[in-house]
């Protein structure tokens, strides 16, 4: 861990900042902050733009169809790329002949995966990577049209030696199961920093156990804890594989030129994508540009250059032409990532009053050929029990690799933990909320439970109380997610003499509203409106910033946006301050006007003030600084906890097994809310993703063929507008005084508790607990003993 003082600024000043929850315990706290950062931002109530329901600054482009996504990029001479994919779940390539494809008219480049640099006609199978899932990329072509590219793929001759395969989590764990890897594979942290590490053992298809996370390792003495328990519950839970289903598939347009590589890419991190390409192609960082102006959803699956970015770049380099390579929906569903499934055996011990004495988790999960199926952070961190241990195993199968997916591990983990806590409450004859009040040390969640119970009208029914075939039930579940500081996040602010203002950053807006919140923060500092600020982001030509994932973008991009604005403002006002004979700090900007705080008769418009700038532009750039609160600082460190509580009401038709989620109340806290409208949209989206996970979504692989059965959106079921419950969001404002904006994220917490809350509500409705997601009508009827 980094030394907290290492990044401490040399010149500091002291600020009194808001601290706590308005209406509950709001007070002030003194923080020592870098001297060049602005004064404390008051609570939202006292602000004009921040905390308000501001319309998205890019809404115009989106509603007119003018917003250009990666697939919309059209460059002169552009070619179309396409992958050849494995028809076998496990095979060795005996020989590969691409000569006919190379000669096919209209084909400009052919690459073979793993041998991109070697331009040959025939490849000996021994030199090629083994095929480990049905749909794994083997080769790619670039051609003048998509049809020619398809034809060329048909001309590639591959001789396969099919090998035994295993796609099922349980089968893959058995001794003698076909091995996915014979060698120990490198941990690439592909699925959101959960689960195994490089140090863990690999035996058969099992890797692990991992006994720690970034929250630490085992605590206390679990055996002693169980011995002290009055009640011990041990249950098994299973969750399915969920695919991201980004509406825009993965893809890139690469334009390799002698002086510069430009890659347009649908991705969550322009910086990481550029760094991948720099490393792979040995180019200077300054010669690679990655652009992501608009992108159609990522949910964790689009970090770095990835398969499409790398292949498009190779094909462009070899052909000398720009190349577009977008995945088709089927390829997306098979190869572009998923949330690993899980089999969890969770055991808790408790005293009669609810106090937890021990928590013990054993988990297995498969991220296919990838790693990252750990689920333990919820068990470890939600109810910080003094006696805790876990053993998490990753299980390799012949299936597409897992990727980070909105709250990796925590969604699976919360289903198990929150189901078990619900069961424990019943066993102890306690209300589930009262039990949580007893065992949950998190102050924010305590406030959330109270607020949510009021809004929801929490009054738990007796299971099976309804007499008709349609049973109603309610349930509650909680979320926990870490807060991350990522200091590699910079914003440049330019004020032009004409009075226009721009904010520039490499950060991308993946749909969450990053552009808008930057505009709000900048506008607040300058006394302007959000729409007055031009936001230029999603391009590595601008200052580097973090990737959008882990609910950390708002937390880490708004402080540098405000700090840079503040510094540019000081430069802009120098002339005016001199003319008025006041200090720049004595000048206030509000409602488009610039005036002296103590003497409002000295005033002019913002545009007039800008005209007095000494240069045509004033420019300031700031980076995220160490956290104010004396938390650990560094480039990638978790601190704090983001909590959430969600309540669900369901009706279950015991005749058909059909479940309808009637209502969800989602109570969330994310520090200072910048834009409640966007936050609500994120929460609604998280809840619906949870509804899909609870009831519908399930990747199915045929164990006989090893092929994914539901590769289309017709067979992989997602919720549509008519399936959704009424969702009510309760936002609890909370000030921690940890940065100049004091913002935290929302993306992951919104998605963690929903499925567990629905599962608990289904139990409350029908009196039978279902331990496996998704909860389908057939499972309901089976649980009720009807089939």
């Amino acid at each position: 861990m980094a030394n907290p003082d290492k990044n401490k600024a040399l010149n500091t000043k002291k600020l009194k900042m808001p601290f706590g929850v308005p209406g509950h315990n709001l007070t002030e706290i003194e923080r020592e902050v870098p001297a060049d950062e602005p004064s404390a931002l008051p609570v939202n109530e006292k602000l004009s733009v921040v905390g308000k329901r501001v319309k998205r600054v890019d809404a115009l482009q989106k509603v007119t169809g003018a917003a250009k996504y990666t697939a919309d990029i059209q460059l002169p001479g552009m070619l179309y790329g396409k992958f050849l994919r494995s028809p076998y779940p496990h095979a060795r390539i005996k020989s590969l002949d691409v000569s006919a494809a190379r000669k096919h008219p209209g084909v400009f480049a052919v690459i073979v995966q793993g041998k991109e640099g070697e331009q040959k006609d025939q490849y000996d199978g021994k030199e090629l990577p083994r095929l480990r899932f049905a749909g794994q990329a083997i080769a790619a072509v670039a051609a003048e049209s998509m049809n020619i590219a398809r034809e060329a793929l048909g001309l590639i001759k591959v001789e396969y030696e099919p090998l035994p395969f295993v796609v099922n989590l349980d089968e893959a764990r058995k001794p003698g199961a076909p091995l996915v890897y014979e060698e120990v594979i490198e941990d690439r942290g592909s699925a959101g920093d959960v689960g195994v590490t490089a140090a863990d053992e690999q035996k058969g298809n099992l890797r692990g156990p991992t006994t720690s996370s970034f929250f630490g390792g085992p605590r206390g003495d679990v055996e002693k804890g169980f011995a002290e328990a009055d009640v011990i519950l041990e249950k098994e839970y299973r969750t399915q594989v969920q695919t991201h289903c980004c509406l825009e598939t993965h893809g890139a347009v690469a334009d390799w030129r002698p002086d510069m590589l430009t890659v347009y890419s649908s991705n969550q991190s322009t910086r990481d994508t550029r760094n991948d390409l720099v490393e792979l192609f040995g180019l200077p960082t300054s010669k690679v540009r990655v652009v992501t102006e608009f992108m159609g959803g990522g949910f964790g699956s689009k970090f770095g250059a990835g398969e499409t970015g790398v292949a498009a770049t190779w094909l462009s380099k070899l052909s000398g032409r720009p190349v577009k390579l977008m995945l088709e929906r089927e390829e997306e569903q098979i190869s572009a990532g998923n949330r690993p499934n899980s089999h969890q055996i969770l055991k808790v011990g408790a005293k009669k009053d609810g106090t937890l004495t021990a928590v013990d988790l054993l988990s297995y999960g498969t991220a296919g050929v990838g790693l990252g199926a750990g689920v333990g952070r919820v068990a470890q961190d939600m109810y910080v029990c003094p006696n805790f241990k876990m053993a998490q195993y990753d299980v390799f199968t012949h299936a597409g690799p897992g990727q980070a997916f909105r709250a990796p591990g925590n969604v699976q983990g919360a289903f198990a933990m929150e189901s078990l806590i619900d069961e424990l409450a019943e066993k102890l004859d306690m209300d589930p909320l009262a039990l949580r009040d007893k065992i949950d040390a998190n102050d924010i969640r305590r406030i959330q439970r109270k607020a949510g119970a009021e809004k929801f009208g929490w009054k738990r029914r007796k299971a099976g109380a309804d007499t008709g075939p349609v049973k109603r039930g309610i349930g509650v579940a909680q979320a926990t997610w870490p807060r991350f500081v990522e200091m590699d996040s910079s914003v440049m602010v330019r004020i032009n003499r004409s009075g226009s203002v721009e904010a520039l950053s490499g950060v991308q807006d993946i749909g969450t509203g990053t552009k808008t919140i930057i505009a709000q923060v900048v506008a607040e500092e300058l006394g302007l409106k959000a729409e007055d600020i031009t936001i230029k982001i999603g391009d590595t030509n601008y200052p580097d910033a973090l990737g959008s994932g882990g609910s950390k973008t708002a937390e880490n991009i708004t402080p540098p946006a405000r700090n840079a604005t503040y510094q540019a403002k000081l430069k802009m006002l120098q002339g005016v301050a001199a003319a008025w004979q006041v200090d720049v700090e004595d000048i206030e900007l509000k409602n488009g006007e610039v005036f002296v705080k103590a003497d409002p008769s000295k005033k002019m418009t913002f545009a007039e003030a800008a005209k007095r700038m000494p240069t045509s532009q004033v420019i300031a750039t700031a980076s995220r600084t160490a956290d104010y609160g004396g938390f650990l600082s560094g480039s990638w460190l978790g601190h704090g906890r983001l909590g959430a509580v969600q309540f669900a009401e369901v009706s279950v038709d015991t005749e058909t097994g059909f479940i309808k989620v009637e209502r969800v109340v989602a109570v969330h806290t994310c520090g200072r809310p910048i834009n409640p409208m966007q936050l609500e949209s994120q929460i609604n989206g998280g809840v619906i993703m949870g509804v899909g996970y609870a009831l519908l979504e399930d990747r199915v692989i045929d164990p006989n063929t090893g092929h994914q059965v539901n590769t289309g959106l017709d067979t992989y079921k997602l919720p549509y507008a008519k399936e959704i419950p009424q969702i009510e969001c309760v936002l609890i404002e909370n000030y921690d005084a940890h940065s100049s904006t004091d913002v935290a994220g929302i993306g992951e917490p919104a998605n963690i508790a929903t499925a567990a809350a629905i599962a608990n509500a289904v139990y409350n409705a029908i009196g039978v607990r279902i331990y496996e997601l998704p909860i389908t009508p057939q499972k309901v009827l089976a649980a009720l003993g009807h089939i």
Partner: protein, 490 residues
């Protein structure tokens, strides 16, 4: 030559007939507002408006352009999001922007088109209809709450009565660009084309199945495009029967006034079948000839005395719909014949009809099990009964024995209980991705009872049906109709 108006511009192209309209719009015309989301008609990111000249006025419906054969655009007005842009934001665009309903924005152009289609429709409005206008739009970001708010805001600003006036009103009020005014004249000048039927070549209707399965192959093969030809037939009443053209889209059939007069409740089946855009495209002929055992229209029309009309080089012939299905995915039709339409014997005035369907997802899904029933009465007894079921045998099944058993009997719980026992012998469901065999048996039983509970709520009690329904542990349960629980469609 394929000719149509794309937004403001007349298009004449010799691109392949089966080229997806979306590819033409994006690649050839460089209009990138419509997006490629799934390529299978499920996500609605590629929605465009299709305008047809009907009785001198344009009628617009949303369609998924990824599955629309380019040639089906012939003689039409195709409108993408770009064709809806004005100097200011339209009230639809405004509503989506104001309610933060565009998150990542990838689905947004499709949403704008779907909501504009709602404005263009002259059917009476309701909040439910406003939300249903988005039934074919997939959004992975917003949780649909903001989209629903936008839809309701749009509906609230539309006048309730817009009969025959939708387009002029929308132009006057700044909802639609003024060029829409001139479209009927432009479209009228495009010559109709009815090419001769080329036996042996594939037959392409609305594209909703074939463009998913074999788009590349169709592009090379110059298929028979029969939408135009079939429309001439339309729906015509002829004495005691009615002809229904095989090229008619599902929506046109379900919404048809003549058919709804004879088959009460037919229109209310629509929300359970596909999505709004797919219903506007998928044809009767396609739904029947695709030979899916769960084809909704096959199940519906099996509840009536219906004959299939085939046309081919050796002339016309017809046969009962139930005999059209031979085995799994096999039909009594040679490759050189095409399905001209159905001849429906018009039911008597007292004919009752019910359609029920259960699928994994309530809307926009294919059935796990579906069933329909047509009932005639002679006094208190059932005189003619036609009961159909899908998903429980290799073909869309007419349950002849169960129907015959019911004929001549009065409705009672015990009769239905015995009918169910017989029905269970007539079916042979298999376990697949849509459910286990036992689950489907149970579903069909429930849906069979649901037909009668829906049609005769006064005569029957759920409790008594269940006493006859073989599940002892349910004897205490009492029926309480709840929409979305047992889905009552009729």
């Amino acid at each position: 030559m394929i000719e149509f108006v794309l937004n403001r511009q007349l298009i004449c192209t010799d691109k392949p007939a089966a080229m997806p309209l979306l590819d033409f719009i994006r690649r050839e015309q460089r209009l990138t507002g419509a997006k490629v989301g799934c390529g299978e008609g499920d996500c609605g990111a590629c929605l465009v408006l299709e305008g047809r000249l009907e009785e001198g006025r344009m009628q617009y419906r949303p369609i998924v352009s990824c599955l629309t054969p380019l040639a089906n655009a012939h003689g039409r007005h195709i409108v993408t999001v770009e064709g809806l842009n004005l100097r200011h934001l339209s009230p639809v665009q405004e509503a989506v922007a104001e309610h933060s309903a565009a998150q990542c924005g990838f689905c947004t152009p499709g949403v704008i088109v779907a909501l504009t289609a709602l404005c263009l429709s002259e059917a009476p409005l309701s909040p439910e209809k406003a939300i249903a206008a988005l039934d074919g739009n997939l959004c992975r970001c917003t949780g649909y709450q903001s989209l629903k708010k936008a839809a309701l805001a749009v509906a609230a600003r539309l006048p309730v009565e817009r009969q025959n006036r939708a387009i002029p009103w929308l132009i006057e009020q700044g909802w639609l660009p003024a060029y829409f005014d001139a479209i009927p004249g432009q479209v009228a000048q495009i010559p109709r084309c009815s090419p001769a039927f080329a036996p042996g070549r594939p037959i392409l209707g609305g594209g909703t199945d074939l463009l998913v399965q074999q788009a590349g192959q169709l592009m090379a093969e110059a298929p028979n495009l029969l939408c135009e030809r079939w429309e001439i037939g339309g729906i015509c009443e002829d004495g005691d029967s009615c002809f229904i053209g095989g090229g008619l889209p599902i929506a046109a059939i379900l919404e048809n006034r003549t058919l709804n007069r004879h088959i009460p409740g037919l229109g209310r089946c629509a929300p359970l079948i596909a999505s709004t855009p797919v219903r506007n495209m998928g044809t009767l002929g396609g739904n029947l000839a695709n030979a899916s055992p769960i084809a909704d229209l096959a199940i519906i029309f099996l509840a009536f005395e219906t004959r299939v009309l085939l046309n081919g080089p050796s002339g016309r012939r017809e046969l009962p719909l139930e005999d059209f299905y031979l085995a799994y995915k096999q039909i009594d039709k040679s490759p050189s014949e095409y399905l001209e339409g159905l001849r429906l014997r018009l039911p008597g005035a007292r004919r009752l009809f019910s359609f029920e369907k259960v699928s994994k997802r309530t809307h926009l899904d294919i059935a796990s099990v579906n069933t329909a029933i047509g009932l005639d009465f002679d006094g208190e007894t059932m005189s003619r009964v036609r009961l159909s079921a899908g998903g429980v045998s290799p073909v869309p099944l007419l349950l002849r024995r169960t129907g015959a058993f019911l004929e001549g009997k009065m409705i009672s719980e015990s009769v239905l209980g015995r009918a169910n026992a017989l029905m269970q012998e007539e079916i042979s469901p298999i376990s697949d991705i849509r459910g286990s065999a036992d689950y489907k048996r149970l579903l069909l039983r429930q849906l069979f009872f649901a037909h009668f509970l829906k049609l005769f709520p006064e005569h029957l009690s759920f409790e008594n049906i269940h006493n006859e329904g073989l599940l002892a542990h349910e004897k205490h349960s009492r029926f309480r109709a709840r929409e979305g629980a047992i889905r009552l469609s009729g």
